[in-house]
């Protein structure tokens, strides 16, 4: 039991790494949004091979009432933005469609008042 959970966490972090690279790597020719389903399958297969582990991602805004969407809360925003300033896609963050939509506009507002950057400043 303990072993599978350890494995799971390992593969999860790896999938994170890979998708980050994928942004401008092998799939750079495609749009960020178009390849969602495709990638999802691949991810699932990968994890399937390593011991059939698949964790269902849940929307943090749905599961935690305390966690409110607010463009003024830079701390909250930070967890949904990569260090390059990109908005983390839904397939990675696990947000539901509604909250992802709201998050997008919230991040864009926060960018306007310099709480979140448009691009990374290399700091």
């Amino acid at each position: 039991m303990a072993i599978t959970s350890v494995k799971g966490s390992g593969s999860e972090s790896r999938s994170f790494d890979r998708s980050d690279r994928g942004d401008r790597g092998d799939r750079g020719d495609r749009g960020d949004r178009g390849d969602r389903g495709d990638r999802m399958d691949k991810d699932g297969d990968d994890r399937g091979r390593r011991g059939g582990f698949h964790r269902k991602k849940v929307c943090r805004f749905c599961s935690d009432q305390d966690f409110v969407m607010d463009y003024k809360d830079a701390r909250m925003m930070q967890s949904f933005v990569t260090e390059h300033g990109k908005i983390v896609p839904r397939r990675i963050s696990g947000n539901c469609a509604e909250h992802q939509r709201k998050l997008t506009s919230a991040v864009k507002r926060a960018r306007n008042i310099a709480l979140v950057g448009y691009v990374s400043m290399g700091t």
Binding site: A2, I3, V6, G10, R109, I113, M121
Partner: protein, 160 residues
């Protein structure tokens, strides 16, 4: 609140403005009072004001890397927004501002309550984060001492 006239359909607006950090407190206060005057002049009501203090900007605006944030919520008609934004645009020490229209059925009391809750939740989360960080640090120092086992995986498996 007192004047509950029938034509009391007031929308709520929230404005965040960034002023130059070298703008003196007195000048800032003068600006705030001017804006408050505008709101009352147009028959609106200031619901709440917050001073977020000087913060580092995520990116420089007009060569400034720090700015003083001010946030205020008011209710009233749309003309107020025009007037306030006009003032902000004319003010040379205002770097940036953003006004957001809150929902149509705006209730000042509810909004204040909500905002207080948001602050409380943020504080709670901050405390949780602090606690977790401490826990992690203590665990890390524990691992540093027991260097032979390497990482978490090795330890957990050996425990079983």
């Amino acid at each position: 609140m007192a004047n509950t006239a029938s034509a009391d359909i007031r929308a709520g607006y929230e404005t965040t403005m960034i002023t130059r950090s070298e703008l003196s407190d007195d000048a800032l206060k003068a600006l705030q009072e001017k804006l408050a005057g505008v709101v009352t002049e147009f028959g609106g009501e200031i619901v709440l004001t917050e001073d977020w203090g000087r913060r580092k900007l995520a990116y420089p605006i007009q060569k400034e890397s720090r700015g003083h944030y001010n946030y205020f919520v008011y209710s009233g008609k749309g003309e107020i927004v025009h007037e306030i934004e006009r003032h902000l645009r004319l003010h040379e020490h205002v770097l940036r501002f953003l006004t957001v229209n809150l929902e149509k059925e705006f209730n000042a009391e509810n909004f204040r309550k909500q905002r207080a809750e948001v602050h409380a939740a943020a504080k709670r989360r901050e405390e949780e984060r602090e606690a977790r960080r401490e826990e992690r640090d203590s665990r890390r120092s524990y691992h540093d001492r027991g260097e032979s086992s390497g990482d978490i995986q090795g330890v957990e498996i050996s425990e079983e």
